[in-house]
Amino acid sequence: MNKSLVNLFGFYRATGISPSVLLLDENGFSVVCGEENRWPQMVFGLDFSENPAYFLDQVLSETKAQNLPGFAVCSAALFGSDELQYLREKGVFPIRTWTLMDAVPSIQPTKIFRENIQIRKIKVPAEIAVFTNLVNTELMQSVKIAGSLLNELNKTEAVNIYGLFVENELVSGLLAFTEEKTTGLYFIVTKQQCRGKGLASDLIGYVLNLCRQKSEMLVLQAVQKAVPLYSRLGFSAREKVVIFWKQ
């Protein structure tokens, strides 16, 4: 299985801390449902061998029947126009796509850190709160992430949050989730007014260097417009994934 998807699954499993984790591995599906109002609440499609559209609709219908949010993350390559048409008739629509990218962390960052910039791990709750606010303002739409959840996660070994400060103001950050020698970068965010200055590149370069000792692979999920940026930093596109939602 693709390491990016495995890490993504692990990350969501970790962030969806909940007693109600249901695994359907024999069907190639794993269902993760967080408690109400926690984030995220998703269904993961990890391995479809045949008739993926039918299977996807069945699973989403079942989760919906149980009053769980009907979202699924799947490889986009599984769905051609016939499959999409079938799903459309069933009320299942793609709502976002990402490109899964990975990099071996031996790649040297190309950026040179600037004098007024400080990059370090974020630990104290007040800084986590600023990072959470940045994520919710700049990245999240209707579903917001709770600062208490990030605080909780930040106490675990698997999660490290890094921030880039310009004159002591947190303007860019990311969350690194490490599992089985793979580190996934999530919530990569930069304050709107500070974008286009290479700050996220500096931050990712810093994390690339840090992860060299403990991770064999770095992965991330990129929105389409960010793919060129991550490519310049040494990441390679592996595959496209799509989130489906049943109305």
Binding site: A76, L84, R88, F93, P94, I95, R96, T97, Q141, S142, V223, Q224, V242, I243, W245, Q247
Partner: protein
């Protein structure tokens, strides 16, 4: 259909889906409309398909999050 007609019809569809939006123009993006999240984007796509009597390439259209991009897509792919 001219590009101007597409713009008008697209803006009308936006109003139907999101209600009155302050300063709605071709330059408006998802950042300007609070209700324009991923789920409402699906509803918007369905309404646009009805309005223009066409089927969109869903993988392509879901990543377009501004009015101008949608207009350009319809202009390039519409009847």
């Amino acid at each position: 259909m001219t590009r101007e007609e597409i713009v008008e019809k697209t803006l009308d569809t936006f109003r139907n889906v999101f209600g009155e939006v302050d300063g709605l123009t071709e330059q408006t993006s998802a950042d300007d409309i609070g209700k324009w999240d991923s789920l409402n984007h699906v509803i918007l796509i369905q309404e646009l398909e009805k309005a223009f009597d066409m089927k969109f390439d869903l993988f392509e259209i879901i990543e377009i999050r501004d009015v101008a991009g949608i207009v350009n897509y319809i202009f390039a792919n519409g009847k």
